[in-house]
């Protein structure tokens, strides 16, 4: 295999190189469904992402390779997967940043049931999200025009509005891996987004929900979620802020 990744050349002069993907496969329709590893080698360019290489496999080598993807630039949150042992979006991970001289391992995100190849059942994840009441709860007598909110009040929860619900954080959390009932970082992030919104009046209810046995107190600040977040949200910090709000309320 010839991995010829030179220094990032100017756009338009991208060297091509071969890259091997080591992909965790699982076919539920097989006679005896069993997960296994399969390797594919494709040629790639300097600006190619892991998703591009996977598309080459799907479109040129093996059409049965199954994964979710949509926008292909890190906005829709479809293609979170475990790449070289870390949760990332395949469309936001450049091959050249991964040392393409070694096979790149690609597995489904951990902790959710695998449906096929890299596709997992997202329903438990979204169920946790729905449970934290992720919507504005505001008084009935809204003004005719917009509610006023200062730029500072708006900035207070800016970080957590960036969430794209890709599940990279929740499925990187060791607590979630062993306790699938844990709300998980993503649900807490989305509760945080409203708890700290000056227009919202439902903070008490949300804090009550997250005070649950499976709520924020399960978090043990391993920072896996912050590392995994493709949107750069400081997830662990957000969780800590929710904890702090609860403690302030209790004492």
């Amino acid at each position: 295999m010839t991995a010829t990744t030179t220094s990032p050349a100017a756009v338009g002069e991208v060297p091509s190189f071969d890259v091997t993907l080591r992909i965790r496969r699982y076919d539920p329709d097989a006679a005896t469904p069993e997960a296994f590893w399969e390797e594919f080698t494709v040629s790639a360019h300097g600006t190619d992402r892991v998703l591009d290489a996977m598309h080459k496999v799907k479109w040129d080598l093996d059409g049965s390779l199954t994964f979710r993807r949509s926008c292909a630039h890190g906005i829709c949150g479809s293609d979170a997967m475990r790449i070289n042992g870390r949760n990332r979006l395949a469309c936001k991970t450049l091959l050249k940043d991964l040392d393409p001289s070694k096979p790149i391992t690609i597995e489904p995100i951990k902790g959710l049931p695998v449906v096929k190849d890299l596709v997992v059942d997202m329903e438990p994840f979204f169920a946790s999200y729905r449970e934290v009441m992720p919507f504005l709860i505001a008084g009935k007598n809204a003004p005719t025009k917009e509610r006023l909110q200062s730029a500072e009040e708006r900035a207070r929860f800016d970080d957590t509005t960036k969430c794209i619900l890709c599940a990279a954080c929740t499925t990187s959390c060791p607590v979630f891996w062993t306790d699938g009932q844990y709300f998980g970082p993503a649900a807490i992030v989305n509760a945080h987004r409203f708890i700290f919104d000056s227009r919202d009046e439902g903070a008490a209810q949300r804090l009550e929900i997250l005070n649950d046995k499976e709520g924020v107190w399960r978090c043990r600040t391993t920072f896996n979620c912050t590392d995994a977040c493709p949107r750069g949200i400081e997830v662990t910090k957000a969780i800590a802020e929710v904890k702090k709000a609860m403690i302030t309320r209790a004492f």
């Binding site: 329903e123 979204f126 169920a127 729905r130 449970e131 060791p174 891996w177 062993t178 306790d179 009932q181 009550e208 929900i209 005070n211 649950d212 046995k213 499976e214 709520g215 107190w217 043990r220 904890k243 609860m246 403690i247 209790a250």
Partner: protein, 153 residues
């Protein structure tokens, strides 16, 4: 009206019925207890180390008599009891977490956790007994190892 008889299938994303919420702040207090006691433990342990290893003749002064002397004082009894209990709680909790993370098979996990709790109970009970039933002046012991107050009377 329709001639077909519609079978109304359940939608694929049903709301989860909720995971038995625990009312009250039990989890919160547990969390706060671990933080506060952790901070307390640091103070306890380092003061303990300082008293034993640095003050006076330092480490050279430690002998049976030294220990006996400390445990004759109720303050140090409570002090060491707290260290024992808190260190065991924190240590056991950490071990429990590690077991949960790495023992994937239910059987292994239950066995290891069981052993852990057994060890916790044995050590805590034994240690507590020792602290409170400790005799600083065992009869028949050579006088040079005993604390000064044993021979004073």
């Amino acid at each position: 009206m329709a001639t077909t008889s519609p079978t109304l299938a359940a939608p694929r994303s049903p709301r989860r019925s909720g995971r038995g919420t625990t009312r009250g702040n039990l989890e919160l207090y547990g969390w706060v207890f671990m933080r506060v006691s952790g901070a307390l433990l640091i103070v306890l342990v380092f003061t303990h180390l300082f008293m034993n290893l640095v003050v006076g003749d330092g480490v050279k002064a430690i002998d049976f008599g030294f220990v006996a002397g400390k445990w004759a004082d109720p303050v140090w009894q409570v002090w060491d009891l707290l260290i024992l209990w808190l260190a065991m709680i924190h240590g056991t909790n950490g071990m429990r977490t590690i077991i949960n993370d790495y023992a994937t098979r239910t059987g292994t996990r239950l066995t290891l956790t069981g052993l852990l709790y057994l060890a916790f109970t044995v050590i805590v009970v034994l240690g507590t007994l020792v602290i409170f039933t400790f005799d600083p002046c065992p009869p028949g012991a050579p006088a040079d190892v005993l604390a000064s107050f044993c021979t004073a009377g």
